[in-house]
């Protein structure tokens, strides 16, 4: 199993050196990667059917409980097959679709990365691994949405998608960590065994909320749905693959995976039913007003995701069966519809439904695919969609008595709207008379129209033989979600009952709606008038506010003037230190501890003060430098008085050398100019004096704190005994703390090299001139 995750990652990194190869016609080889993986996972179908899972354990950071654990059960298998199966179609399709794109190599790199991330996500059995792959899907999705990075809109949409899903990732991580800490395990299968412990914990509502928030952002649930229509800026294969069939279903996967741990309680049921219910109605309703084919598909996808969340919320066995089947149904017909949208877009250079018509005459196989997909989405008998819709109604009708009627009504309304949306995208462009301007359209390459046709035909095939999906795919999935063995068989014909009636009603009303509701830009304008309360607008406004705030904030603090930065830092330090001093109570001086004053010390300090005054007042640089060095010599004398001969010698030589340095460089410079205004001067003087005073007070306070002399005593005692030296300072430098000294001379060497290269650089550039 590990290789299936690594294959895509390795491929995507190999694209860097072998990118040119992808651009040739041999690049089609890449499409065999998902095909290979698809075949690999197909062989697991008979093996996994009976509630059996395959585990692969690899230690990663075992001490932290982070392991590379992979686990293949029914649910993972369903998603793995979808990812690789749809992936195969998408890879073949994309090779033709982006044939002339100069960055097709990059595209396939991202796509392989995404596929690996997605496989890793559904196979992970460790919550940290799951989270890592979860984020990786967000990142690869970001790159793919922003693939046309020369369009500002693409970049913005990509950023919106990343920030929404990234935010969700944070919530998810918090929820997962809380869960892991309560259960004392980070393995998902072990968490499932401790479900009761987690559900009884007082933090359970937070865990549930955080995980649901993570799933909501990823699966575009209201009010986080707005990134998905924006994500349609990606090339169409990406929209088909990521934003309808696989990635957006990661949230669904997450909820299904954690259903045994967090599910089956009122909080779970009601929050998901409400979120899913609102989303499915909202998305379906909005799809009516779109004229862009991709817009219709985007909103109907949101609606379908809402249905899945809604069903997971209901959480009965019927509902979970419906989830398992509807995931397949939706993936098949929605990918088909996206792919034909891409073909139409390529052929006619428009996706406007009010313009497109009659294309069946020039794009017949595409029209067949679109037609079949639309029928499946409408739930016409003998398509898989019919089975899916029946199961949904079955689930809502058999849910708790007092809500069943409302749930059923919501589901029926949503489906009626979705029937219309599916017809709009799958049938509308092909019906009617062919406009003159479209007459010269040629059939596209086979690799463009065959994948959607296959997917659409599969929808019909599974619709005629539903037990293929039911027994082999849905049953293990349901088993692994419910954690109990269930036995059910999908059938085409259930006899005349309420479900069939509802199904018929849905199709009839949906078809009528399709004929009444003509795509029209005016309707789009009407719905756009409501934009001011749309979540997208709120998000954008919040974004703009934060942006403006941080701009003005950094403009205030980062104004480009060094002294202004310094001033702020110094004043901040002053406030902190003053507060600390204030906390320490009044200062007092213990005169007994102080040593006596002698005349030569006073004279030295006075000389230093004089030099300080000269440094401040002089207009000549040279005088200032010499005065500074006098300060240094004064301090050197103080070192002599206070038993530090090494320091005195070092200070003296360094001071001398510094003067020499300054003189070498500075004697050419003009005298100081008095540039500051009087007000600023006074301000600086006040700040400086306050700082000096605070530091003095700190020093007084420190003076009365008894120093730790244990370390000094150790060095004093052992300098000769251990290091055979009498000069303790030198012993410290070359023996006890030799490592520090080693690094010190390295730093000095770097400084010398810096000086050397700075000046040599200048000589060379002046030579050129």
């Amino acid at each position: 199993m590990l290789f299936t995750v690594l294959l895509g990652l390795i491929t995507s990194s190999l694209i860097v050196p072998f990118g040119r190869f992808v651009k040739t016609k041999w690049g089609i080889i890449l499409a065999f990667i998902p095909l290979l993986l698809f075949l690999y996972y197909l062989q697991y179908i008979p093996l996994i059917s009976w509630d059996k899972s395959y585990v692969q354990h690899i230690d990663w950071i075992p001490s932290l409980g982070v392991n590379f654990d992979l686990r293949l059960d029914g649910l993972s298998l369903l998603f793995s097959l979808l990812i690789t199966g749809i992936g195969t179609c998408i890879f073949f399709y994309a090779k033709s679709y982006l044939k002339n794109d100069p960055y097709i190599d990059r595209f396939f790199g991202y796509l392989c990365l995404f596929m690996s991330a997605m496989l890793g996500l559904v196979l992970s059995d460790n919550i940290f691994l799951l989270f890592t792959f979860w984020e990786l899907t967000s990142i690869s999705s970001f790159f793919l949405i922003g693939f046309n990075n020369d369009h500002a809109v693409s970049r913005k949409s990509a950023l919106t998608a990343l920030s929404v899903t990234g935010l969700g990732g944070f919530f998810l991580l918090a929820g997962l960590v809380l869960m892991g800490n309560i259960a004392q395990t980070y393995s998902i299968s072990e968490l499932a065994e401790k479900a009761q412990l987690i559900q009884d914990h007082e933090l359970f509502p937070y865990i549930l909320g955080l995980v649901i928030l993570g799933a909501m952002t990823k699966s575009a649930q209201f009010p986080f749905h707005f990134w998905l229509p924006g994500a349609m800026k990606a090339p169409t294969p990406v929209s088909a693959y990521l934003h309808s069939a696989t990635m957006v279903k990661a949230g669904i996967y997450l909820l299904a995976r954690f259903f045994p741990i967090l599910g089956s309680n009122p909080a779970w049921t009601y929050s998901l039913m409400i979120i899913g219910g609102i989303t499915m109605l909202y998305g379906a309703f909005h799809s009516l007003f779109r004229t862009d084919m991709k817009g219709v598909l985007a909103y109907s996808t949101i609606s379908a995701l809402g249905i899945l969340v809604f069903l997971l919320g209901i959480g009965t066995e019927d509902a979970i069966i419906a989830v398992a089947v509807f995931i397949v149904v939706h993936a098949l017909y929605k990918a088909t519809l996206f792919l034909i949208t891409g073909i139409i877009d390529h052929a006619t250079h428009t996706r406007d439904l009010s313009v497109l018509q009659g294309l069946r005459k020039v794009l017949l196989p595409v029209a067949i695919a679109g037609f079949l997909a639309a029928l499946s989405s409408a739930g016409v008998p003998l398509t898989l969609g019919f089975i899916g819709k029946d199961l949904i109604y079955e689930a809502t009708l058999h849910s708790e008595q007092h809500v069943a009627i409302y749930l059923t009504v919501a589901a029926v309304i949503t489906n009626i709207l979705l029937v219309s949306a599916g017809f709009m995208a799958g049938i509308k462009p092909f019906m009617g008379t062919l406009p003159e301007k479209f007459e010269k359209i040629n059939m596209p390459a086979k690799s463009l129209w065959i994948p959607p046709l296959i997917l659409a035909l599969l929808g019909v095939l599974f619709g005629c033989f539903p037990h293929i999906i039911g027994d082999w795919i849905a049953q293990p999935t349901v088993n692994s979600i419910m954690k109990v063995k269930t036995d059910f068989h999908l059938q085409i014909w259930h006899g005349f009952n309420l479900v069939l009636l509802l199904s018929a009603l849905t199709i009839i009303l949906g078809t009528i709606l399709y004929f009444i509701n003509k795509p029209n830009p005016r309707k789009l304008q009407w719905i756009e008038r409501l934009n001011f309360i749309a979540p997208l607008t709120i998000f954008q406004k919040a974004y703009q506010r934060i942006y403006n705030f941080s701009t003005s904030y950094s403009n205030y603090f980062h104004n480009g003037y060094l002294r202004s930065y310094l001033l702020k830092i110094i004043i901040f330090a002053e406030v902190l230190l003053a507060y600390q001093l204030y906390l320490g109570g009044p200062l007092h001086i213990n005169w007994d501890l102080l040593s006596a004053i002698s005349v030569y010390e006073v004279v030295t300090v006075l000389i230093v003060f004089g030099a300080v005054a000269l440094t401040l007042s002089t207009a000549s640089r040279l005088t200032a430098v010499v005065a500074t060095s006098v300060i240094g010599y004064g301090i050197c004398l103080l070192f002599v008085f206070y038993s530090a001969p090494d320091l005195a010698m070092t200070q003296f030589t360094i001071d001398t050398l510094t003067v020499v340095l300054f003189v070498l460089v500075l004697f050419k410079l003009p005298p100081f100019l008095n540039l500051a205004k009087k007000r600023i001067l006074i301000r600086d003087v006040v700040v400086a004096i306050v700082f000096g005073m605070i530091l003095s007070m700190v020093a007084i306070r420190v003076l009365h704190v008894p120093t730790h002399i244990a370390i000094s005593e150790f060095y004093g005692k052992n300098a000769y005994l251990l290091a055979k030296g009498r000069n303790v300072v030198n012993v410290l430098l070359v023996d006890f703390r030799g490592f520090d000294t080693m690094f010190e001379i390295i730093v000095l060497s770097i400084a010398a090299l810096g000086v050397y290269s700075l000046l040599k650089l200048r000589l060379k550039s002046s030579e050129k001139e």
Partner: protein
Amino acid sequence: MKSTILQTASRYLLPILLLFSFFLLLRGHYFPGGGFVGGLVASIAFVLHSFAHGTNETMKILRYKPLSLIPIGLGISAFSMFMPAIFGLPVMTGLWLEHPIPVIGMIGTALLFDIGIYLVVIGVVLTILFTISLSSD
């Protein structure tokens, strides 16, 4: 700054100061001094000479670029650090010859380390000063 007095004086001062710096280096373990101070005094000796005779003259006395002293010094210090490892002791263990040598006193890795510092300091100071003075000509 061509002054006959300075030129004559520096000609005699250079060896004396160098000798003094070496003296500071060797006795650093017992009395005030050591690699840093020794190195600084030696650099001052050369700087004084360059003031009197010009940097190019001083470079001639040195023969090699002062920059090359830096890797040599770093190498010696690092070698003294890792030498104990050859004998299977932890890095930076002090190793000493058993008997003191006349004039110099005890010899050990600490002295070797100090010699490395001495050379690095000379190399650094002279590199900086000579690069600057040569580039401003």
